[in-house]
């Protein structure tokens, strides 16, 4: 359990963020991440030695969160929001920063309108920087399918973005 405790400590922030992107509710995300760590512990005997931990764990977290999202009919009380960025001279002129902030908010709005499965594909790639191989493991799909899944999710994001 001590060694597993190190895994929990190392990945708990990422696990909660992953669950949050899917559930958009801090308490629900925390609970889903906890449950995912319990399920991962029970699945340790089946973990392939030498395989990367992060995608294996994220897959369990995402499955837990997606199942909870699908089982719950209630609309999330909270939606994803972009944090208010402090003015930063390095980020360009005030106008450029305002434009970036506006684009950020529109994208977040578009993401909120998407299904959990699409949102998590985009989050894995662009929020959490998973490689294609890691995404394949985390999504439980063939590596060759990652690009098409991501491409479809991006197309749907563009549709949401236009609305």
């Amino acid at each position: 359990m001590e060694a597993y405790g190190e895994i929990v400590i190392r990945y708990q922030a990422l696990a909660q963020r992953t669950a949050y992107v899917i559930l958009r509710d801090a308490d629900a995300a925390q609970d889903a991440a906890q449950e995912a760590f319990v399920k991962a512990f029970r699945a340790l005997a089946r973990f392939r030695e030498g395989a990367p931990v992060r995608p294996w764990l994220l897959r369990i977290v995402a499955n837990e969160a997606i199942n909870r999202a699908k089982a719950s009919s209630r609309h999330p009380q909270v939606e994803l929001t972009a944090a208010v960025a402090e003015p930063d001279e390095r980020a360009g002129s005030p106008e450029a920063q305002a434009l970036a902030s506006e684009r950020r908010e529109m994208l977040v709005r578009a993401l909120n309108g998407m299904k959990e499965d699409d949102r998590i594909v985009i989050a894995y790639r662009y929020f959490f920087d998973l490689t294609e191989a890691e995404m394949a493991d985390a999504l439980g799909i063939a590596r060759g399918t990652v690009k098409s899944r991501l491409s479809r999710a991006m197309s749907r994001l563009r549709e949401q973005f236009r609305d």
């Binding site: 359990m1 001590e2 060694a3 597993y4 405790g5 929990v8 400590i9 708990q12 922030a13 696990a15 909660q16 963020r17 949050y20 992107v21 801090a26 995300a29 925390q30 991440a33 906890q34 449950e35 760590f37 319990v38 512990f41 029970r42 340790l44 005997a45 089946r46 973990f47 030695e49 994803l80 929001t81 972009a82 944090a83 960025a85 434009l99 970036a100 506006e102 684009r103 950020r104 529109m106 994208l107 977040v108 578009a110 993401l111 985009i122 989050a123 790639r125 662009y126 929020f127 959490f128 991006m154 994001l157 563009r158 973005f161 236009r162």
Partner: protein, 269 residues
């Protein structure tokens, strides 16, 4: 502004920017809650197997496998000492029943026989010890076994070769087995099921934590390299003294009483 004005590269950059600015809730420390849930589930799964009327109809080996799966899923830290006990790499737990000991194939099929303790030490990468001073003779046969993540030395003492110290066991021709295992600390390598009539005692052996297991037929299992639970045929179904010695898990199996077992353990050189 619409996405139609963004190229793919711009959209990707914009998404990375969103990821960097998303207002995530602060991450909570999950470890205490995760630990509590694991302990709670373990207790529930452990007892639910005994409470289930279906358990009575499940073949003994499958029942044991279920029990061991429940035990392997949980390193029994803080568990009720009467229900599950553990040493490094070993989980010992009580069961409603235990399958009869298999006689005959006393040695794992993937074990290799070697000529001496020195040869065994070279093969497994740690110093293999034997209670030669107490027994009065070296082991009759020595085997080594290297599985995924663990190394094992198995010393076999044939009946009659132990100076009368060790009586005959239920395995013809074998009086005592000594198994020395080194494996990953975080992973239970062996499980042992003890039926209700069996006695488990915690004690200190050679300065390390140990368990004395005495009574009816026991069953050892081990975690195979593919993660499957396999019955460990390296057993005599005799009394067992198991203890931690450095980074090794040691066990002596023989039809001897506790004092003789402790004397043998103390003579391991």
């Amino acid at each position: 502004m619409t996405s139609g004005r963004l190229t793919d590269d711009e959209l990707e950059r914009a998404l990375r920017d969103v990821g960097a600015h998303l207002a995530y809730p602060p991450a909570a420390d999950l470890l205490p809650a995760v630990r509590a849930r694991i302990e709670q589930r373990h207790a529930e799964s452990f007892w639910s197997i005994f409470r289930s009327p279906r358990a009575a109809f499940v073949p003994a080996l499958a029942t044991v496998a279920l029990l061991l799966l429940a035990a392997l899923a949980f390193q029994p830290i803080g568990a009720n000492a009467l229900e599950a006990l553990g040493l490094r790499g070993l989980v010992v737990f009580r069961g409603a029943e235990a399958p009869p000991p298999s006689v005959g194939a006393a040695i794992l099929p993937d074990a290799t026989r070697v000529a001496s303790l020195d040869a065994a030490s070279r093969e497994v990468g740690f110093e293999v010890r034997a209670p030669t001073a107490a027994v009065g003779a070296p082991p009759d046969e020595i085997y080594v076994r290297r599985a995924e993540g663990q190394q094992q030395a198995i010393l076999v003492y044939r009946t009659g070769a132990s100076g009368g110290l060790v009586p005959a066991s239920k395995v013809p021709g074998v009086g005592m087995l000594i198994v020395e295992t080194r494996g990953k600390v975080a992973q239970p390598l062996l499980g042992k099921l003890v039926p209700p009539g069996g006695r488990i005692e915690q004690l200190t052996v050679n300065g390390g934590p140990g368990l004395w297991i005495e009574g009816e037929a026991h069953q050892f299992f081990y975690l195979g390299p593919d993660g499957n639970i396999l019955p460990d045929s390296v057993r005599l179904a005799g009394n067992v003294l198991a203890w931690e010695q450095g980074d090794l898990l040691m066990r002596i199996e023989a039809q001897v009483d506790r004092d003789v077992a402790l004397k043998l353990a103390g003579a391991m050189r």
